[in-house]
């Protein structure tokens, strides 16, 4: 298929996934702010949401003057959901997804295209709404539902050809990145207070992390025990049956890259295989000894490098 087409399809899927993950972060953060025992300040609650998206400085530049140098719920919600100047706001992610889809509407089924186009048309109903005051839950639910719908319509209608593979590839590269960042920010924050593990606040924190990746019920089912940080980490890093875990993402990515590379020896295929092996054969104890933060940080970097390599191999063909 055309390199440009593959490029657009891949990014369309990445942006939809990015929007979904952002909605998840907003949703759980908002829920935590409703917990009466959460003895945290508004700032301590909302700063991590910014850290996950990696845009703390830009936020401070644009919002601190207005909010007396504080991280406020209203500010962070607006920044992450609707801000046109924040490249990774949900607004911009969905807009970019739609623009990428529009550029290659031919390469997808009409159902897929209409789905994304309808998503963008529906989005306008939220513009101008003060989500921090009300409607944030509905908004986040809507984003998640549209993302589910997007994957479903791709899965249910697209021919199993390279176009489909690039869409899936985009989804899982982005998801792996998002899960790793989420876990890293949360773990990093909780680590200094290890002695308090097991407390009520802690429980809410970790259950929120789990809920943000739809893993709360899975955790209960698998461990039927109190929520322990190391188990949460295991669930989200190494468990291949957990659909948003790093391992599960690479269970998808590796075969896709093998198939797309065909007989060619490509660097991206090798890199994916290497990362995949770490997740398949790695042990949680070793990861903790090495430092979970170091592990996740390295993972995010490797995943980015893999993304760059995918570009080089498939999207920018030298003539």
């Amino acid at each position: 298929m055309l390199s440009r087409t593959a490029d657009h399809l891949y990014w369309m899927a990445r942006y939809i996934e990015r929007a979904e993950n952002m909605a998840r972060v907003l949703d759980v953060t908002y829920n935590m702010s409703l917990v009466p025992n959460a003895a945290e300040s508004e700032a301590a609650l909302w700063l991590p949401a910014l850290e996950i998206s990696g845009n703390v400085e830009a936020y401070e530049r644009d919002y601190f003057q207005r909010d007396n140098d504080e991280y406020t719920a209203a500010g962070v919600i607006h920044y992450l959901a609707m801000d046109e100047n924040n490249p990774s706001s949900i607004y911009n992610s969905l807009r970019s997804a739609r623009e990428n889809a529009h550029a290659v509407r031919v390469a997808m089924t009409s159902e897929t295209w209409e789905n994304i186009n309808a998503l963008w048309l529906e989005f306008s109903q939220f513009i101008g709404q003060d989500l921090a005051k009300n409607g944030l839950r509905e908004f986040c639910d809507w984003v998640k539902a549209r993302s589910h719908l997007f994957r479903g319509v791709c899965f249910g209608t697209m021919l199993r050809d390279d176009a489909f593979s690039f869409v899936r590839l985009g989804t899982f590269i982005e998801r792996a990145d998002n899960t790793a960042r989420l876990l890293d920010v949360k773990y990093h924050l909780l680590l200094p207070e290890q002695e308090e593990i097991g407390g009520a606040v802690d429980y809410y924190e970790w259950s929120a992390v789990l809920r943000s990746v739809s893993a709360f019920q899975a955790y209960q089912k698998i461990y039927s025990d109190t929520i322990e940080p190391w188990r949460v980490a295991e669930l989200l890093v190494l468990r291949r049956d957990m659909p948003r875990s790093l391992h599960a993402c690479f269970d998808e990515i590796t075969p896709i890259l093998e198939q797309l590379s065909g007989a060619r020896t490509t660097e991206c295929k090798r890199m994916a295989g290497e990362l995949h092996a770490k997740l398949r054969f790695g042990k949680m104890r070793d990861i903790f000894q090495h430092g979970l933060h170091e592990f996740l940080d390295e993972f995010v970097k490797s995943n980015n490098k893999l993304g760059a390599e995918i570009h080089k191999t498939f999207f920018s063909i030298a003539t």
Partner: protein, 503 residues
Amino acid sequence: MQKSTPTFFDEMQLNAANSNMPDVRQIYTAYQHWLNSIPRDLLDSKRQEAEVLFRRVGITFNVYGEDDGAERLIPFDVVPRILAAQEWSKLSAGAIQRVRALNMFLHDIYHQQEIIRAGIVPASILSHSQYRPEMFGVDVPQQIYAHIAGIDLVRTSESQFYVLEDNLRTPSGVSYMLEDRKMMMRLFPELFRRYSIAPVDHYPQVLLKNLRAVAQAGVHEPTVVVLSPGAYNSAYFEHAFLAQQMGVELVEGPDLFVRNNAVYMRTTQGPQRVDVIYRRIDDDYLDPLVFNANSMLGVPGLLSVYRNGGVTLANAVGTGVADDKSTYIHVPAMIKFYLGEEPLLENVPTYELSKADDLAYTLGNLAELVVKEVQGSGGYGMLVGPAASKKELENFKQRIIANPTNYIAQPTLALSTCPTLVEAGIAPRHVDLRPFVLSGKTVTLVPGALCRVAMKEGSLVVNSSQGGGTKDTWVLQEEHQEVQKQMPDVRGKVETNIEVATC
């Protein structure tokens, strides 16, 4: 005070002006019957439904100079234009005849130029800006230049149709013919049971077959692509639509490159050879090495490969010389010259302002005439005499005097009207008709056309860039007309002749 309105032929009613007892034309009787049977606000709610659906599907066009949020819908009218089978067979035979002659003319003008030697077309045509000397002596496969031609027709009475112009460069609008039909079938399935309407949706398949047929000799499985200027072009929807319907790649200039006298596209598996390019980019932007050097849309080196026969372009380069308004006047003579036939479709009587007599007449009767720029298109740069103010007339007069060869004039035609849903209800609005003629091994057209409608009361300008809308065009199948006479309110499905016969 209203001006006295001239009477126009109406597609539905024989004497629309005398509205007490409108005499509905036979082909519209079943429609009229249906119209009487539905709630008053049904049409409007269907129109709104169509708008929502068109927006969801993204059947939009971009307006130049507005930001990318400004994707607009072309107004879609829910009242169909209906043509009888006999009407259609005349029109289609005439359009086919015309396109055959035009293709022969294009071959001739870029080879022996016999028509010039015969004194039918003046030699000055060779200095015309749309004449491409680069094409002289170049042989194109099957000698086809205009693979896709849009012939604009207007009607002034029951029996009188005129060809308003030929579109041989990159005619657009066929996606509306197809999408309007799909929409009508969705909105009004019951009407499709009452009428037996010739289907049009095989158009992309015919187009693909033709495009494959014009690949270079010896290529067995030709790769066809659609070349678009990209997502911000006003007709992008149509480019995408046709590529998708034909199952071929939609490419943009930067996706293609030239190597060793061949054109390739950049794919995820490496370069892939391209054999036929259905290009929706004007000549001027095709190849920055030959034409407009600043073009980012084209492919450097494309023309050289094309001239050497390494790739086929549809339409060919240089067709503009044949659809120009100064060439238009010669088309009837061309038909006689190349085909030895009498033209089946008439031209609109046209004054050439390069001729002293015609110029004098035009300047003296400007208020009754339509004056067009020889090379203008899209309804820009034209004067509609009866609708112009004194000042506009005077301004235009000065422009004509300054450069008379740049203009032609025609009588203001009493374009037929067709009932159209507007705010006040159903009212007559002026329409034209653009069937698309496809040339491959044979010259054909699907039984349908783009019907454009001027949504403004009294307006004769139907171009979408000037606020025109579209209608579905129904070409009735022969056997159906009998059915209607016998039973204006068909109860069940009329699917087969047998069922009809037993009723």
